[in-house]
Structures are given as C-alpha cells and as structure tokens.
C-alpha cells in the first residue's frame, strides 16, 4: 500500500471538540475595555468630499459667485435654519438634525493643509502633524493604550474592508479588517491555518515566529467571535445595494448583536469630483444618506443608538471656487458630521466658515481635527487622549 500520511490533517475532525477549551483558555487572557459598552463608528469619505455643497450657506452671495453653475439653490435644499441647508440627497441627515441627533462642525482641518489625497489621508488617520512621518494610526494607538498586562483582542477595532487602514494600526496592537464575517471565517477552512491557530502556545524562541503564531491565534479567535456575533441580530431593513450599504449593515448587525468591538471603521470612495461634480456627488451622497438612515434605525430598534456615536469626515474639503470642468479641486478645511442618539449638543455646533477669508482659495480651519478625536477618546471611550494624540487638544462639547 502506498504510504500516504496526511493522517494528522484528518485530525481536524476532532478540532471542533477542541474549540471550546481553546477559546476558554485564550479568552480569559483579555480585559474588558472601559467605555460602558459605547461604540464609535468612523466613516471616511475618500477623495475629498465637497462639504460646501453638503452644508450650503444659501444666503451667501460669495458662495454663488464662486460657484455660478455648481451652487445649490435654496429650493433644492433641506433647510436647517435661515442661512443653511443640507444637500437634497442628505435627507436622513436632515431628519437626524431636526431630531437633535446630528451635530455639524464647520471648518475642521489642520495647519499648513496638504492637498495630496495620500498625504492628507495619512495625516487624518495617523492624527499626526503635517511634517511627521506617520507610522501608526490614532485608533491603533487607542488600542495600544488599553494594553495593561494584556492587550485587547483585534476585534476591539474593526474595519470593513480587504485591508487594514493606517488608522487602525498601533505600535503594539492592530485592529481587524474583513469584508464580511463569513469570508473572514472561511480563511480558517484551511486546516493548516486552523490547526496552527488552535495549537498555539506562547514560546520564547524565535520572536518573529512567535509574533506570527500569536497573531494567527488571535485572528482565529476574533474571526470566531465576529462570526458568532454577526448572526444574533439580523437586519430586516433595506440598505443601498452599493457595497457601502452592505458593509454598514454588517456593522449594524455586529453592534446590535452586542459585539464588544469599540470602534468600527468604514470608507466610502468616489468624492474626488474634479469634473461634472453635481451628478457624481449627488449619487454618492444618496448612498451615504440612505445607508445612514437604515443604520440609525437598526441601532434604535436594538436600543443601541444612544450608545453609539458616528463620525463622518473626509481628508479635505474642496476649493471654494469651481473649476473650468464643472468640478472643484482639492481644498483644505471641511465640515464633519457627528451623529448619535445621545449627543450633549447637536445642530450647527460652530459658525459657518468665512467665505471672504480664504487661504489660497481654500477655507481656513477653525477647529483642529485632533480636537474632535480627543473629545471622542476622552468623553466617549474614556481613554487618555494626550498619550494617544501626543499632545493636548481642547475638548469640544458635542458629547
């Protein structure tokens, strides 16, 4: 008889018996994170969203002068007050606004703004200065700061994507990225991955091997945790067919299922509207708004909306003046949206940007984006912001 000794791989039949023990031994290792079950969701609008056409100063002549064809008329807007209106496709945000569940912060940015997508995205994700070389992200460093003896598990911060963004990479700890809980779990159909993960034991030998084995074991455990917590609550609401909608639905299901994840990260791309901006931006804002509508409703149904804050930002705003291609070029300061069931302050949180005082044609920032992060870290996640952000930034009062 031919010698075919793959025998041990068939031992994976017994693997299922091992799982509970393994999880038990491994799981006790970790601490619960502070924050009273609160969740932060960060939505990145990639490409540089034109915030000026989202929150429109419809009484301002300078706005219409700079944007003869791109300027939105009052009758197209969801009027917020006697000078401001929201883009017509931001219907759900208008509802949240009138409900006291949305805060809009104008003029958020940083000194010496960089107009490169890559660089400015790095600056926002790393929460670093414009001259620093970013090697870790602010949410990753939030995870690092939670390490006390032992670290939180990777699923403490989750990104719905194929790759993990810089924002979720700390120096010691990194978050977990996946497209959906099923595909994450499917990686472990490979018996080598599963057996290796299940037989993990700490070793003082080769540190690189130890790091890989430990990461794999933690990933396996987190994959199982996430998979289990994706099935408890099933959303019955309609989300946009666009993958952003499906991904936001995944987040809603995880939150409603009681996953211990503290931070969720998700991006929506397509905001780089150099040409023919009106149609393009309208389409994508509609996706964003419709997904947000179902998302907030799901959270409210599950009684979790008051424990959730949703931050929406973009790496920069756009030039105030429209360009020759009926679009806008890369700008600087921009507005951010903060939604949640339990905001201390909502509505328009600060004065509209001054269109008469521009820097190289761009809005000047009045709020440092790290103040927003600091507020979320301290008042929402109960973390030490000065350590994570490497500096002290005055806190804001939306929480």
């Amino acid at each position: 008889m031919r010698r075919r000794s793959f025998v041990k791989f068939s031992a994976l039949a017994s693997a299922s018996i091992l799982v509970p023990d393994f999880l038990k031994a491994f799981g006790n290792h970790y601490r619960e994170l502070p924050g009273n079950g609160r969740t932060l969701v960060v939505i990145q609008l990639s490409g540089g969203n034109d915030g000026l056409n989202c929150v429109v100063p419809y009484r301002n002549d300078l706005y219409y002068k700079a944007r003869p064809t791109l300027g939105l008329k009052r009758e197209e807007l969801h009027v917020l007050n006697d000078e401001t209106g929201l883009h017509e496709n931001l219907e759900s945000l208008a509802d949240l606004f009138h409900d006291g569940k949305l805060g809009i912060l104008h003029g958020v940015g940083y000194p010496n703004p960089n107009r490169s997508h890559f660089r400015s995205t790095d600056i926002w994700q790393a929460a670093c200065g414009e001259n620093e070389n970013a090697t870790s992200g602010w949410i990753g460093r939030y995870l690092d700061a939670q390490c006390e003896g032992s670290c939180p598990r990777p699923h403490a911060a989750v990104e719905i994507d194929d790759t993990l963004s810089l924002a979720l990479k700390g120096n010691k700890m990194k978050g977990l990225a996946f497209r959906n809980p099923q595909t994450l779990q499917q990686f472990f159909q490979n018996p080598v991955l599963r057996n290796t993960a299940e037989s993990y034991r700490h070793s003082h030998g080769n540190p690189a091997a130890e790091y890989l084995n430990k990461t794999l074991a933690e990933t396996y455990e987190s994959a199982g945790y996430i998979y289990d917590h994706s099935k408890i609550f099933r959303s019955k609401r309609l989300y946009p067919q666009h993958e952003f909608g499906q991904h936001l639905k995944t987040i809603a299901e995880l939150i409603a299922s009681g996953s211990e994840t503290r931070v969720y990260y998700i991006s929506l791309s397509g905001f780089d509207t150099h040409a023919f901006q009106l149609g393009q931006q309208s389409r994508i804002l509609k996706v964003y708004s419709e997904a947000m509508k179902s998302f907030c409703a799901d959270l409210a149904d599950a009684n979790r909306f008051h424990e959730t804050v949703i931050l929406t930002f973009s790496e920069f705003g756009r030039r105030v003046e429209q360009n020759a291609s009926k679009g806008t070029d890369h700008g600087a300061a921009n507005n951010v949206f903060i939604a949640g069931g339990n905001l201390a302050r909502s509505g328009l949180l600060n004065p509209l940007p001054d269109l008469g005082k521009l820097d190289q044609g761009d809005l000047v920032h009045s709020v440092d984006f790290r103040q927003v992060y600091a507020t979320l870290l301290v008042k929402w996640l109960q973390a030490d912001a000065s350590e994570i952000l490497n500096g002290n930034y005055p806190l804001l009062n939306f929480i």
């Binding site: 790759t163 690189a208 393009q280």
Partner: protein
C-alpha cells in the same frame, strides 16, 4: 536522535538557502541543489561576480520628443504625464518584479530594493522613478558617498522633498532635514540649526522642465554656514561630504544593513567593528556585504529564519517557485497593496518600517492563504485602494484576482528518485523546527508518484506561518 531537537546542526542546504534568501530573493529547490557542489566562500564570490554585469530598467521611453526636449515640457504635458503615471507605474512595478525574479545579478537587485527603501521616494512621474531606480542599481554596490551625491541630485528625490522650492529668499528645509534624519546620521545627531544651515547650502538645487537636475546660481545662498561644528561657505556637495566624514553615518547605515541582511537585533560590539571597517573602506557597501556573507556568525542558527519577509520578497519567492503570474498588472499592484508594500509607493520618505509592522490579522491571512488559493484557482478579491476617484458603483467581481501558477517544475523535482523524504519542509522553511508547532506534519514518502498529494503537501508547508520567515 537524542541530540535531536535541541542542538540543531545547520545543514549545508540550509546555509545556502539562507545566503540566497538574504543576498537575493531565494532560489528554487532545484536551484539550491545545483549550488550544493560549491563551498560557501565560492558561492559568495559567485554572487558578486554575477552582479558585475547588469541591465537598466528600460521600460519607459523618455517622455519628451525632440522639440520638447529643447524647451522642456509644457504645463499641459506635465499634467498629461501625471495622469498617465499611475498606469505607467503599474507597468514599471511589474517589470521590476520580473527583473527581481529572473536576473542573474540577484545581489545587486536585492540591494537596489534595499536602497529604494532607504532613499524612499514617490512622485507621479513614472519615468523619473525609472531614472532613480537605475541610479540606485548602478551605484548599489559601490561607495555609499557616490550614491548619496547622485541621489541628492536625483530629479525624483528633489521633487519629492520639495527642493525646487528651496531658494535663497525662502529656504525649504525638507531635503536638508531628511538627508540627515533618514539618509545619513539618524535622528538625534544634529540640531535644528544644522538643518537650517544645510538647507541654505542646498538652495538653487532644482529640476528643470526636461526633468533633469539643474543648479540655479541666482537662487543659491553662497554665504558662510555653520554646520556640525564646521564653518565655511559650504555648498550642497560640501554638506554631503561633511556628513560622510561623520562616523555616525557609517554606524547608522551598518545598523540598517545589518537589520535587513542579518538580524532585526544588532549586537553592539559587532556594530562597532563593522561600522569602523565600513568607514575605513570609504563606505564600500559591496565589501561590507562580502564580509558579512563570509563571516561564520552570518550562518549561526540565531540569524536564520528570524526575519518576516517583505511582501515583495514573498511575491518574488512565489514567482520563482511556481511562476506566479497576473493577467493584469493592476491585480499584482492590488496584491502588493493588500500585503502593505507597493513598489515605487513607499508610505512616506521614511520608507517601509518592516518587521512586525508588515503583519496585521488581515495581511497575515492573505499571506497564509496565497498557496491554497493559487492551487485551487480561488481568486482573492482585493479592491484597489486607496480609491479616491473610483466610481461608486464599481462591481466587486472586477477586483477579483486572476492569477496563474505552474506547480509542475516543483513537483517534478521532488518526484525525481530519492529526493522526496521526510525533509520536504526543509526546502521551504528556514526557522528552527522547534518553532514549528507540533501539528504532526507528515509527508508522502520517496516512492510517491501522486502529484496531487505532493502539491497538497507543499501547499500545506507554504501555508505555515514559518514560510513567511527568512
């Protein structure tokens, strides 16, 4: 048998694999077998002699025609180049990867890759990136001073670090800062005042509309500068020479080379010995590497299989082992992106940090699943990112990764009589078997002819975390 697991004798095969994984990008089991008739010193000599001859990366033609060449590119042409650059860069990326895989000058190619990370640059002019890449390759093995002087006048680097804005009236300190912090001394060995003075010396170093280095005298500050304790009306070249006079520069470079070529941890005494020799040799990088590869300690167990290979190294290993190919260059770039390293796109001027920073849960799963997915023809769905201008309704299906692989040469090698033994993993895995978990790997015996079993076995080995270690 009793000595067994705890006193591992490093075999000749393992040492040769080690040498080629570090000096180059690894070799196939058949390639290693052919090398076994030579001694290690002979192999080191061969590595150097086969790197004497080499070819430029010659993929992209000069983008300007004759009439433009005189006047230089118009702003419109510059814009056109920028718009086309990403696609050009994908092709250049694939060309370089091809070269890494198949060139006989592996030592030079690996070192070029090292310098690409040291002098990390990314500008949206693919042609200029090609020019820089050829400079790195040409000067890789010679004196570091030659390379430093060339890179300081390299158009891509000058543009990347904004030196075209460095003028007498309002100096830009970016290049001056990075040349000390990242290219020579390392942080903590100079003052802010040194940066300001050095920036003055580099004023007027710029790039003209033909994409060449140009010295603009009218923008140069030729006053007296005080720099690192010296005083004179230094120009840029003087500053670079002063930096080379500093022994700290040798220490900084040797430490980085050691971490890349030998071990992430550098023993202090060895660092001092090597740095002094490097300094005294006039920073001859080739000689430094030769002395490393000819040392006994390079082949110590503690230095073998202790490095997490970079994404590009991993992809080249796959190309060598099973002829990994992509139907579209874009999918190759997407895979690099998912693994965290896209050639010609370092994250910033500090380059890729490497080591454990390559690994997060997600990138590890992609690394470990690659072999299985290739064999089973499962496309790995990888979105190209960052996608700033992607159409919002981009369908996911288009981003699936169509890749091909050929496992024939590998299985034929092992099917050949006598080659297939219990030691199959030793052809692929370098680290101490103690560190392999005791999962009970077992392999088909010498008489196996079943190709499927063999492939399955190899795939299992390539799926082990230890395969990621070189």
């Amino acid at each position: 048998m009793v000595i067994g697991l705890h006193l591992i004798v490093v075999t000749g095969q393992k040492k040769i694999q080690h040498l080629f994984l570090r000096a180059g990008f690894g070799e196939t089991p058949a390639g290693i077998l052919a090398l076994r008739k030579f001694t290690l010193p002979e192999l080191v000599s061969q590595l150097f002699s086969s790197s004497e001859k080499f070819r430029d990366l010659n993929y992209l033609p000069f983008p300007l025609n004759e009439s433009q060449e005189r006047k230089g590119a118009s702003p419109f042409q510059v814009l056109k180049m920028i718009l086309k650059s990403r696609q050009d860069m994908e092709e250049l990326n694939s060309e370089w990867l091809f070269k890494m895989t198949y060139t006989p000058a592996v030592l030079r190619e690996k070192l070029t890759f090292f310098w690409h990370n040291h002098f990390a640059t990314s500008v949206p002019f693919a042609y200029l990136m090609q020019v820089q890449n050829n400079t790195l390759r040409r000067l890789a093995l010679g004196p570091f001073g030659d390379l430093l002087h060339a890179i300081a006048k390299d158009p891509a680097m000058l543009l990347y670090l904004n030196n075209q804005q460095n003028k007498k009236d309002h100096p830009n300190e970016n290049f001056a800062r990075e040349v000390m912090e990242l290219f020579t001394l390392g942080i903590g060995h100079y003052t802010e005042q040194d940066i300001r003075e050095a920036a003055r010396a580099f004023t007027g170093w710029t790039v003209n509309a033909r994409g060449e280095y140009e010295f603009q005298k009218e923008h140069h500050d030729d006053g007296i500068k005080e720099f690192l304790g010296r005083k004179g009306n230094f120009n840029g070249e003087d500053i670079l020479n002063i930096l080379l006079e500093e022994k700290q520069t040798a220490r900084f470079l040797v430490s980085k080379i050691y971490r890349e070529y030998v071990n992430p941890t550098v023993p202090k005494e060895r660092l001092e010995t090597l740095s002094l020799a490097y300094y005294n040799s006039g920073y001859h990088t080739g000689e430094l590497l030769r002395s490393i590869f000819n040392s006994d300690w390079f082949y110590d167990e503690e230095n073998i299989g202790v490095k997490i290979c970079s994404p590009v190294e991993l992809i080249v290993r796959y190309k060598k082992l099973v002829d990994l190919q992509f139907k579209k260059n874009k999918t190759l770039v997407n895979l690099q992106y998912a693994l965290g390293q896209v050639l010609f796109f370092p994250p910033n001027v500090a380059g890729w940090k490497g080591g454990t920073q390559w690994i997060d849960s997600t990138s590890l799963l992609v690394r470990l699943s690659l072999a299985r997915y290739l064999v089973q023809g499962i496309p790995i769905g990888l979105k190209s990112r960052p996608a700033f201008e992607a159409p919002p309704d981009e369908s996911h299906a288009e981003t699936l990764m169509p890749a091909t692989s050929d496992w024939g040469p590998l299985t034929n090698f092992f099917k050949d009589k006598g080659r297939l033994t219990e030691s199959l993993p030793e052809h692929f895995i370098q680290c101490d078997p103690q560190d392999m978990n005791e999962n009970g790997f077992a392999y088909p015996g010498a008489e196996t002819t079943d190709e499927k079993d063999l492939i399955r076995s190899i795939v299992n080995i390539l799926s082990m975390p230890q395969f990621q270690l070189i």
